[in-house]
């Protein structure tokens, strides 16, 4: 029973999504990026930390397709390995943010009244702190590492998710089928989990997809200022940061990771756009 439901719903969304070429291309790009991240050791021609100082800052050649950096490491290999860190940063931080956001938003939206007031005022205070500054502070407290950057970014995106979820839950809450569920004796917890969240999650899917893009970007920025992934592990932001010292002479070293960031963020945003259209019942047919 469950299986059919998921299939038919997914199929419907997929049918809508297919019409949007940009979204399909973005989806393909993202899938390729994930595959690259998973199979990085097989795809990369060199190890990411293998140095060859004699061959530093080399131009692209047959051996090093994108050249080497100031320590003579193969840039292509580092980009490929970097996909892992960047995608992790985007996906896991959004996962943390979305889970907390959905919980807070559902509770706040469903119960309303003082519960809602309390949650929203707390979020107001929380949001008054600039998100990036918060990430910096958290990364500084917890110590710079991939894991802590993910936690910092995840906590940073909670308010946005919580607010969207709350608004969505508030509209679903008033629907008659919620009353019907109450009348057949569903408890509050069951109503929220089985009836409210699945119906209210739509707008969140779009936000989640776009959130991945913005978290990749923020993650790269955190790494750029040295609070994210630590060398020698490659990450696109770290790579840009390292290329800074030779930016004048070899601008391409910063350009390649920059393009990677751009492509992945763009793909996330375009897919989010496409999903929004696909999920919007008013735009059907």
């Amino acid at each position: 029973m469950k299986k059919k439901r998921k299939q038919s719903r997914l199929r419907e969304i997929w049918h809508q999504l297919k019409k949007n070429k940009m979204a399909v291309v973005s989806l393909v790009v993202l899938i390729v990026l994930v595959l690259i991240a998973i199979f990085a050791p097989l795809l990369a021609p060199y190890s990411y930390s293998e140095q060859n100082v004699l061959n530093a800052n080399a131009s692209p050649s047959a051996e090093h397709l994108l050249g080497t950096d100031d320590l003579g490491r193969d840039i292509l290999s580092r980009l490929i390995y970097g996909t892992r860190q960047s995608l992790q940063m985007g996906i896991f931080s959004v996962a943390i943010g979305a889970v907390i956001g959905i919980i807070v938003g559902s509770i706040s939206g469903y119960f309303g009244s003082w519960v809602d007031n309390l949650c929203m005022r707390l979020l107001d205070i929380y949001q008054a702190i600039p998100m990036f500054l918060l990430c910096v502070a958290l990364a500084a407290i917890l110590g710079p590492s991939l894991r802590n950057a993910i936690i910092a970014l995840g906590l940073g995106v909670v308010p946005g998710f919580a607010r969207i979820m709350r608004a969505s839950v508030m509209t679903v809450r008033e629907k008659e089928y919620i009353e019907a569920a109450k009348s057949i004796n569903c408890g509050t917890g069951r109503i929220i989990i089985k009836h409210i969240i699945p119906n209210a999650i739509g707008p969140m899917i779009v936000q989640i997809t776009m959130g991945v893009g913005s978290c990749i970007l923020s993650g790269a920025a955190l790494s750029f200022i040295g609070l994210g992934v630590q060398p020698p592990i490659p990450e696109w932001g770290t790579m840009i940061s390292e290329a800074r010292s030779v930016m004048r002479q070899y601008p391409t070293q910063a350009l390649y990771p920059g393009i990677c960031v751009m492509i992945s963020v763009l793909a996330c945003n375009l897919l989010g756009d496409g999903l929004r259209d696909a999920l919007d019942p008013r735009l059907k047919n």
Partner: protein
């Protein structure tokens, strides 16, 4: 028929909003016998749905306040029961049919799941068994059991209402609160749904509180009628009595406002004026403002319910005078 299944005594419900108190239900009393079906008739906003929700205990907790009254179901006051005891009754012994079948079903669950959910809430049975019973319920309301896996949007309005009814009847309730079950449907489907409910009622001996604003449906389906106005029951009695001999000016006005096929009038005869604002109810009779017979007495204090014949109650001074 015989003993009272449901007995509501002096029930008053208020809604508190930020800047006003809405007096939705004021001092309402009525009872439903076993197997009886009573029609709750009244305009939109007369408090009919609020009565049903109070019985089920699903009023919005934060805004609604039950000011006074008792609701006896099989001898127990529902308002005094703990939530745990209430859970055994809600959806099991008392079930509700909702007004709008378009929104009363969760759009992303299959209809079968929703009926099975109602069953599983009250019976400790296996998924498979619940499923079989849900399929039986679907068959009972005239929908092939194979459609168990279909989603609400794959059904027509009339079929959705059948599903909603199947959901309400899933646990063989003793009392069914039907909140305008046919209002959202067109006339042919209305007749089908009513027929079906009548059959089920005979089969299961369920008592029904039918909330509606359609006298035709009441005449067709109910044993007795309670006419509500501004949160009060202004007249109550058997269908025969009320239809042949309406005493309250409001009931009379309602009957007069129904267009008749056998007369040549071109215009409808509405009752003049509007229902009083439920945040500022008049002190005297609620209907005085619109009543053609209103006297000073009427605006001074509210009338009580007078029993002009066994079982026929009228809340009007006019009737009392007539008696004298």
């Amino acid at each position: 028929m015989g003993e009272n299944l449901l007995e509501i005594k002096n029930l008053s419900v208020e809604y508190h909003t930020d800047d006003a108190v809405v007096y939705a239900v004021n001092n309402i009393s009525f009872e439903v016998k076993k197997g009886e079906s009573i029609g709750l008739v009244g305009e939109t906003g007369a408090g009919k749905t609020t009565i049903a929700k109070s019985v089920l205990g699903i009023l919005p907790q934060l805004q609604a306040k039950i000011k006074s009254g008792e609701i006896y179901f099989e001898g127990n006051d529902l308002l005094k029961l703990s939530e745990k005891e209430m859970q055994k009754i809600r959806g099991n012994k008392i079930a509700m049919i909702f007004q709008d079948p378009m929104t009363a079903l969760n759009p992303i669950e299959t209809v079968g799941f929703q009926i099975a959910e109602a069953i599983k809430r009250h019976n400790k049975i296996k998924r498979q068994e619940a499923r079989e019973r849900a399929e039986d319920m679907l068959e009972m309301v005239g929908i092939p059991g194979e459609r168990y896996r279909d989603y609400p949007h794959e059904f027509s309005g009339g079929m959705k209402q059948r599903v909603v009814i199947a959901m309400a009847l899933a646990c063989n309730p003793e009392l069914l609160l039907a909140d305008e079950p046919t209002t959202a449907l067109d006339v042919t489907i209305q007749a089908q749904v009513l027929d079906m409910m009548r059959n089920l009622r005979q089969k299961l001996n369920t008592s029904v509180v039918l909330i509606t604003h359609d006298f035709g449906v009441v005449a067709d389906f109910c044993d007795s009628v309670a006419v509500t106005y501004a949160g009060e029951i202004v007249e109550r009695g058997s269908v025969d009595r009320i239809f042949n001999n309406p005493k309250h000016p409001y009931t009379q006005g309602l009957f007069e406002s129904i267009p008749r096929l056998d007369s040549n009038e071109n215009r409808l005869k509405p009752i003049k004026g509007l229902m009083p604002d439920p945040t500022h109810l008049p002190e005297g009779c609620r209907f005085a403002e619109r009543c053609p017979y209103a006297t000073e007495e009427c605006t001074a204090a509210p009338p009580e319910a007078y029993e002009i014949e066994p079982g026929h109650f009228v809340k009007c001074f006019k009737v009392k005078e007539g008696e004298k």
